[in-house]
């Protein structure tokens, strides 16, 4: 039982990271109607900035804060320079344009930081496991990720549901022409939303950096998962992104944890060992397909929030 809880925590922790990434993606997709493949590059930039600033200042927290500011600025500059010409064009143009940005950022990082990658080391106090309930030890840093991501989710909820900016964001998601017609500076709103999305991506990147290390192209695999999350959750819905991220995180982790044993009861050790990773990585895509069949607009469509 304790083992099951531990694996659930692992799943929730993965879900929290996916949420941080998917929240920014769903805001940008839902409000600006922009398919942003370069979102993973902002995730990578956040991690590289954090590793650089942490090495420079000698403090993990200070490095992380500076990295957030730097990623936000990068995001907004990127929006003004490269993203604006893409608005109102077909999605294929978005995909081509932002895919080009993805390649650009990979090369830029290679030029600036070199190909070898970096390490963002945790303070030694973090390199331990804490006892959450008697008998259950959990890595402290992963626990911190869960708690911090929950705090960010709560903050995001308050901003989106309780502030004027949030009201504009929600209005923009429902009917952007009407918002523009009412005299809201849509250009500025878009830049802010893109900056917010970039900051969330950068935050996910720097939180993940001590676990997965910092390397070129680190955002590409996880970006695919983030797209799955926003499709399951409903495009443009923060709440949907949260629920779907936790579901995807749990399915991925529990599949990896328990599928080999289940298969082993039917197949040889060899076959079970080989098959289990393949099936567990497929399972989230099967879930996505099922959701698309039953609820094509996702679990929480933006219009019905």
């Amino acid at each position: 039982m304790l083992y099951f809880i531990e694996q659930c925590l692992n799943g929730v922790q993965l879900g929290m990271l996916l949420f941080l990434l998917a929240a920014g993606l769903t805001l940008i997709f839902g409000i600006m109607d922009l398919v942003n493949l370069a979102h993973g590059s902002l995730y990578m930039l956040g991690a590289y900035f954090a590793a650089t600033f942490a090495a420079f200042t000698g403090s993990f927290v200070l490095g992380a804060l500076l990295a957030l500011v730097a990623t936000a600025i990068c995001g907004m500059v990127l929006e003004v320079i490269a993203i604006r010409p893409l608005y109102g064009r077909p999605h294929l143009d978005h995909v081509l344009g932002t895919f080009g940005l993805l390649l650009f950022f990979n090369e830029l990082v290679r030029l600036v930081w070199g190909p070898a990658g970096m390490t963002l080391s945790l303070p030694s106090a973090m390199l331990t496991a804490v006892q959450i309930i008697p008998g259950l030890y959990y890595p402290l840093y992963r626990l911190v990720i869960i708690l911090v991501a929950l705090a960010v989710a709560a903050l995001l909820y308050v901003v989106v549901m309780r502030t004027r900016l949030g009201m504009l964001i929600r209005a923009g998601a429902s009917n952007r022409e009407m918002v523009g017609a009412l005299g809201v500076n849509i250009k500025l709103l878009y830049t802010l939303v893109f900056g917010l999305g970039a900051t969330l991506a950068g935050f996910a990147g720097l939180m993940q950096a001590p676990i997965l290390t910092v390397q070129i192209g680190m955002g590409e695999n996880i970006l695919i998962l983030a797209f799955v999350v926003i499709i399951i959750g409903g495009i443009g819905s923060i709440r949907g992104a949260f629920v779907a991220a936790v579901i995807v995180g749990l399915i991925d982790t529990l599949g990896r944890a328990f599928l080999p044993d289940v298969l082993h009861s039917m197949l040889s050790v060899e076959a079970a060992l080989t098959l289990a990773p393949a099936i567990s990585s497929m399972s989230i895509y099967m879930l996505m397909a099922a959701v698309l069949v039953v609820r094509p607009e996702g679990l929480f469509p933006a219009a019905s929030r």
Binding site: N10, P139, T213, G217, S281
Partner: protein, 403 residues
């Protein structure tokens, strides 16, 4: 009269034409000989993505090796074509075919990944291209798919984990949890460990390769199984992630980790303290006390300002090996039979000291226990602790039809 002369003229013309053709052929043949004065080597490794660190180390070592022989093999100048496999078997086989068919290389060298190597093996064998594999050690290569023209300067995958299994027995490990990535090499490694480890395997996990970088679920499983030790094989960047997460999970103080190809000179500068005290087995360590190795390590550090890894060391060996072979056939590299025999003799000075091939063209060699330590100047380096197995031959050599 006319009728009798004609055949004469025709015959003469034919003769003259034939002589002309022969002349042209001769010129062409001389031209070929002139072109043959350069040896073309195709080099396949990974030069993009995070694993480019490994590919660069191999290329640097190969280049250093060429510098050491005056950039000539057996007196003939060398041209190297480097190709990137992107860790993908389909790209690897495509690049291999390109090197053989359009570049018409004389030798193919390299290959990090066992799955890329096995995929590329058929075109190499079919074209009888003399190939030196300098890292990948798939069991297929050592056993049923061995070929007269394919050689390895590295190992067969099972050997290194088998050595660490022997060491785990010596340390009195009774139960172990095994982890590795889900591709050919990962499976070979887990088999290799179990071939010598006499304790009980209480659990084993193969993880998605190469995209799975988070091992939280598997580490929780290992903790739950309460083994005496964990064995892991995670090459390249994945090794950094695995060892980091192992330390973060608090397991480092509870369940000792034993490794193969997980901590190397490329990952150590990034792992630092996390790698200290984690034992691994290897066929080469940078402090092996022989003159060739001392020169290799010193010159590498001087030229590239960093330490070479075993990837580089085994690749470096390919240069003097090929040099000795081309010398033995007096530069006539069309003589493949002669080249094969010369390479089999392995008449060169290896960074590992002595060097000899088994019947399947995989080296018979020592495996050492290595450990990471912090130096007084704050840097980290790997050291030889002891010899685990002497003159080890892989267990697949019986399955190779070559005798």
């Amino acid at each position: 009269m006319r009728a009798t002369i004609r055949p004469w003229i025709l015959g003469g013309a034919a003769l003259a034409f034939a002589a002309g053709l022969a002349g042209i052929e001769q010129v062409a043949a001389q031209g070929m000989m002139a072109a043959r004065k350069t040896i073309k080597i195709g080099f396949i490794s990974t030069f993009s993505g995070p694993a480019a660190a490994i590919g660069n180390d191999m290329r640097n070592s190969f280049e250093l090796g060429l510098d050491h022989v005056g950039r000539k093999l057996g007196g003939l100048p060398v041209e190297v074509i480097y190709e990137d496999d992107q860790i993908k078997p389909d790209v690897g086989v495509q690049k291999t075919q390109k090197l053989i068919q359009s570049d018409r290389v004389d030798f193919v060298v390299g290959y990090i990944w066992s799955n890329v190597m096995v995929a590329s093996l058929k075109p190499l064998i079919d074209s009888k291209t003399v190939t030196i594999v300098t890292n990948a050690g798939a069991s297929e290569l050592a056993g049923p798919m061995c070929s007269p023209y394919v050689f390895s300067t590295s190992w067969q995958n099972d050997q290194t984990p088998a050595a660490i299994g022997t060491y785990m027995n010596q340390r009195g490990v009774k139960t172990a949890f095994l982890m590795g990535p889900n591709y050919i090499a990962g499976k070979d490694m887990l088999h290799g460990l179990q071939s010598t480890f006499t304790g009980k395997v209480v659990g084993q996990e193969l993880t998605r390769w190469p995209d799975q970088l988070d091992f939280s679920a598997e580490l929780s499983k290992a903790r739950e199984a309460h083994p005496d030790a964990i064995f892991a094989f995670y090459p390249g960047g994945a090794g950094i992630q695995f060892v980091t997460q192992y330390a973060q999970s608090g397991l480092k103080g509870q369940i000792p980790l034993y490794t193969a190809f997980t901590i190397d000179d490329l990952s150590l500068p990034r792992l630092k303290d996390l790698a200290v005290g984690v034992p691994g087995a290897q066929n080469w360590v940078n402090d092996l006390p022989n003159a060739t190795n001392k020169k290799f390590v010193a010159d590498y550090r001087a030229k590239y300002k960093t330490s070479p890894s075993f990837y580089g060391a085994d690749t470096y060996d390919a240069v003097p090996l090929l040099d000795s072979a081309v010398r033995a056939v007096h530069g006539n590299i069309a003589d493949k039979e002669g080249l094969r025999k010369a390479i089999e003799r392995a008449d060169f000075k290896s960074v590992r000291g002595g060097f000899k091939f088994g019947n399947n063209h995989i080296p018979i060699q020592n495996f050492y226990l290595q450990d990471a330590a912090k130096n007084p100047d704050g840097s980290y380096s790997l050291h030889t602790v002891s010899l685990i197995v002497k003159d080890d031959q892989d267990k697949f050599h019986d399955k190779c039809p070559m005798k």
